[in-house]
Symmetry: C2
Subunit: 364 residues, 2 copies
Amino acid sequence: MKRIEVGLRRNIDDSYQVYIGEGILERVGMVLGADGSADRHVIITDSNVEELHKKRVQEAFEKTGLRTDCITIAPGENAKEISTVVDLAEKLLSLGADRKTMVIALGGGVVGDLTGFTASIYMRGIPFVIMPTTLLAAVDSSIGGKTGVDAASGKNMLGTFYQPKKVFIDLDFLETLPDAVFRSGLAEAIKYGAIESPEMLDRIKKAAEKGALRKIGFLKRLVAESCMIKKRIVELDEHDYGLRRILNFGHTTGHAIEAASGYLLSHGESIAIGMAIAARLSEKLHGLPATSRKMITETINAVGLSDVIPPTVGAEDIIARLSMDKKKEGGKTNFVMLRRLGEAFVNGGIQEEILRETLEESRT
Amino acid sequence: MKRIEVGLRRNIDDSYQVYIGEGILERVGMVLGADGSADRHVIITDSNVEELHKKRVQEAFEKTGLRTDCITIAPGENAKEISTVVDLAEKLLSLGADRKTMVIALGGGVVGDLTGFTASIYMRGIPFVIMPTTLLAAVDSSIGGKTGVDAASGKNMLGTFYQPKKVFIDLDFLETLPDAVFRSGLAEAIKYGAIESPEMLDRIKKAAEKGALRKIGFLKRLVAESCMIKKRIVELDEHDYGLRRILNFGHTTGHAIEAASGYLLSHGESIAIGMAIAARLSEKLHGLPATSRKMITETINAVGLSDVIPPTVGAEDIIARLSMDKKKEGGKTNFVMLRRLGEAFVNGGIQEEILRETLEESRT
């Protein structure tokens, strides 16, 4: 038997800058214009964001000499499927986009996931940048390079790890967010506080109590600190082999609750409840102090989110969905637990009785 | 404006072994069983290959303790589309495949491209290996990590660079190939000879004249040398920024002829004609000696392929398709030319009159 080695060892630098500021659109245009990796730029956005921001963004870019085309998709989670990717690719092709074309995701998490995935597979990969317009995308999905689309049988069933070339977080976009959407982002920020930074948790609670959650100074710090926490975790575990899983604090039961509610509960509302449940389990099983659990639920309540499972969502339905996930994950449910605030770890096996009991306790 | 760097510098080793031999199935099972990167294995094949080889392959694997599941797709180029990828992913999910599952592409180029693409995006990437069953896949598509599917508007419009973990070329598979399919692979081998190895070209011609093309000794050397040539080019230009384009010798007009024939001409038949045209252009424009051009066309004819455009395929149709490609490639048609045998380079601009004249000369 003959053997030939195809030798593909190399140093890779996929590092990128996350820019955070107010009214930074013109500077974004300049930074992109000065970047030589692309000779043209196409914005991908959804029709909601298009109406709110597209004109202003394109005009600010043009002032710096950056001309952009724009492709608009339908808003909402339903667009996050492979047919939208094919559609985006066809539209890119008809615009004449080639491997020197950069796409710009302008929108929330769905636009980012779709644009990133399309960029990663269009002509075997073209560069992309993200301009998040929601707090959720700013603090969470824009950093880390996870892209993907859902399928009937699973969320993010098809996707890639594909890092953006840059992320530009213009805080001005967050002003137009409806409160409910804004709170979804806060839920993820509370997550970072719980798993990594008790100080941040405290700051969110105090800002909520003072009615200062939407003040720009608070937001700038919140976004920057969230990005710092996420980036440190992603740097250590880009491809999600272990540590990165602590970012799923509150998400295991949160996702099950979201689905069991028929998606009447938003992602943020669901993971808020999921975090309260995870905190309860952590207290029971891993000695999380009661005061710490209280701190988490009080912060959740302070920002206007509920920490209890609504009566319409049945415990058995949640458990059934958790065991479906378990099957998909190779027989393990990865619950993220806290030993104390800021100290998270993955616990692969929680007994069903304890889970059932805790779900019942989480109703009031 | 605040800046945070996400630091993702790392050393990557995507190197892999290509194993070439006769009757190596049991050894394949052992090599895969000993590789700790996966805890289960799923074969992806098409219904033609399934009928010919699946039972033998699975039995040989089982002798070494390697149990495999198998997913079968429809044969032929038409399967190379995104709906097949979604279908494969759904089937993998229903088998419970997770990130520790390895997929094995058992088949020709289409099976390899589809399996590689699916592996690259299923759960953001799972390992895959290739077992080519055609000469074309053995000498060409199995090495280099190009994966993809076609769309209405373009070949390989969606795809990735995603390297297999291993390639196992069992020469026994080549015995069952129909002559026409076998010749398609020979056309690619002739290409390697023309662009990199005049000795190999000579050897193919002599083997053809002796009727020894399908002798195992000849094939083993042909496959190994082709793999060596391709791997050296891929090692230098994995992501197709320049050098790798010389692998398209004969392919620019070849693809146009293939499409213009309504796909009545096979890929191999088409690129054989494309190579003859490229040799003619090289003689005219870049001083390729007439004897070298003759050597290429004689080798093409010796293996039973034609070097002339059939009367049913119109020159204007070919030219129209070339300018469509040109638009897609950002205004350039990348013709690969020869200065002499074994010395290829990319010429971005050939005048339409010269092309038209050469196409007319290539009819007889």
